[in-house]
């Protein structure tokens, strides 16, 4: 049969999980990563990265709203997915994920954004007109109390939510890793390191996204980029990337040393079918290169211009690398036979329901939503003129 080498069981020839299932962990990873960046800024009170705090929250929201869509499109009966809320199935990891998602969306992200923006929303509801005014009015929930004391309460409540939010963000993405890591029938996935690797790669991709979005938006608004801020974000990216890479290598070394019955088959796959996406794109282009680039900015004394260029390049390569990592996990895990004697090929559709075009639309859609959110709730510091006394009070 075309595209099949060696021995495949009949149900292994066609891949069940398509490029959309690759996209899904990629998108949730961006959410978790962006949120963790914002939270670290808030909890550890890092002044330098303040300009990206709100942007990170909005980015997380924009991507989180779209994240379930690839799953819905993958389902034959998407309308039935709602039933996991109606009749919850407590022993199914996938079914319980609906609640993790809802908790994270409603109890953490929306709440934190609302509390942080409440002052702006009240002010905007007074200064705008027409439909926008109605939208802002609805968002105030009819309360225009922005007295110092009220804002102080918001600040405290927001802090509490952030503290709850960090484990929630870890849960959100650790969960995705858990789904793969707990499939004991598949040696490419089954590893307790999977959730941890997923979380760190999520942080890497989220931080890179926020950095790129911040640089792009600031540039498009013809403002000067706050280099102190970008340098700090890039430094975080560098450190966390090193941890992520170490974990991935640990996983690899562990597999090589353990060398169980699946090893020869997987090793062969990595050297043939997955060579380009795993070795070339994920490891060299998407991991080692950005780490070296970011490392260079730490060691060498470069001009602002050069650093900006390098950050831009490293950020893009990082995202490509993380996407390749999701690809290699999801697609790679379905290319080999459980008999360890054969390999199949993934044939991606182009204009099908689960094809390339859909994947591209789903990647662009969050950026459109982000654009709307940024218009609706401007994250820029010049608008963010909270009285200093309030902030000082809150901490």
């Amino acid at each position: 049969m075309q595209g099949v080498e060696g021995f495949m069981y009949p149900n292994e020839v066609e891949l069940q999980w398509s490029v959309l299932i690759v996209l899904y962990p990629f998108l949730t990873g961006l959410v978790a990563g962006a949120f963790i960046l914002a939270s670290l800024e808030r909890v550890f009170n890092v002044e330098a990265v303040k300009p990206t705090y709100r942007l990170a929250l909005l980015t997380a929201l924009a991507f989180l709203l779209i994240a379930p869509l690839p799953l819905q499109l993958h389902l034959g009966h998407p309308e039935r997915s709602f039933e996991m809320y109606l009749t919850p199935h407590t022993t199914s990891a996938m079914a319980m994920f609906g609640f993790v998602y809802l908790w994270y969306l409603m109890a953490v992200l929306v709440l934190e954004i609302w509390l942080d923006y409440r002052r702006d929303i009240v002010l905007l509801s007074q200064s705008t007109t027409g439909v926008t005014r109605l939208i802002y009015r609805a968002m105030t929930l009819g309360s225009s109390n922005i007295s110092e004391r009220a804002l102080h309460i918001d600040e405290r409540a927001g802090w509490l939510i952030t503290v709850i939010g960090i484990p929630s963000a870890f849960l959100l993405h650790g969960y995705v890793g858990f789904i793969f890591g707990s499939i004991k029938a598949n040696p490419w996935w089954s590893s307790p390191l999977m959730p941890v690797v997923f979380i760190f790669s999520a942080m890497v991709s989220g931080i890179a996204t926020v950095m790129l979005v911040y640089m792009f938006l600031t540039w498009s608004r013809k403002q000067t980029i706050d280099m102190r801020c970008v340098d700090t974000v890039a430094r975080y990216l560098f450190y966390i990337f090193i941890i992520d890479f170490t974990l991935e290598m640990l996983d690899l070394i562990h597999r090589i040393y353990e060398s169980d019955e699946s090893f020869r088959s997987l090793d062969f796959m990595v050297h043939t079918k997955l060579y380009v996406s795993h070795i070339v794109v994920q490891i060299f282009l998407g991991t080692v290169t950005p780490i070296l680039l970011l490392g260079a900015t730490q060691v060498l004394n470069l001009t602002d211009r050069a650093r900006k260029r390098i950050y831009g390049l490293a950020g893009c390569l990082t995202l490509i690398g993380i996407f390749a990592m999701r690809w290699n996990v999801v697609i790679g895990g379905q290319l080999f036979s459980k008999s360890f004697l054969g390999y199949t090929t993934y044939k991606m559709g182009l204009v099908t329901r689960e094809g390339l075009l859909t994947a591209i639309v789903l990647t662009v859609l969050p950026l459109v939503i982000l654009w709307v959110l940024v218009k609706l709730l401007p994250p820029w510091p010049e608008r963010h003129t909270r009285p200093d006394s309030v902030i000082a009070h809150a901490r």
Partner: protein, 157 residues
């Protein structure tokens, strides 16, 4: 108290959440089937619901009461054990009321290859043809009679 007044917006928010949860619970009570969970994580009367669906297939005995001529032909042919509705489709409605429901005409060109197109997965003993070579594009029923398809057997009778 002052603190209460200044946290008023938080109470409003809690109210919105409570309203959302309430709405969900109301919707849930309507949407979850009544017999759900009676025995396990499924609708208790699932079988009864399926049994209550209208019958679509009449079964070949029913057809044969009226179409004795077809039965006559078919009985000795190679399709003797192929059910009427395997080819003609579900026709319970026609069997109930033959005058108002007329079965659709079958297209032998698509019907026969559904079972007889050569395929390595089919048992060797099952008669198969590569239709492109075998019939040269002619509809199968120009040479075969659907109800008694074997050709060689005919003259011997």
């Amino acid at each position: 108290m002052n603190a209460f007044r200044d946290a008023g917006h938080l109470f409003r928010l809690a109210g919105v959440f409570a309203a959302g949860v309430l709405l969900f619970l109301v919707l849930r009570s309507f949407l979850v089937p009544k017999s759900f969970g009676e025995y396990g994580h499924y609708r208790g009367n699932a079988l009864a619901e399926i049994a209550a669906r209208p019958v679509n297939f009449a079964g070949h005995e029913t057809c044969e009461t009226c179409h004795a001529d077809v039965l006559e032909k078919k009985r000795d042919g190679k399709h003797a054990h192929v059910n009427c509705e395997a080819c003609h489709g579900p026709l319970a409605k026609h069997a109930d009321d033959p005058s108002s429901v007329t079965p659709a005409k079958l297209d032998a060109a698509v019907l026969c290859v559904r079972c007889h197109e050569a395929n390595a997965a089919k048992p060797k003993s099952f008669p198969q043809v590569v239709s492109a070579d075998h019939s040269n594009g002619l509809p199968c029923d120009t040479c075969h009679q659907p109800h008694s398809p074997a050709i060689a057997a005919e003259p011997a009778k």
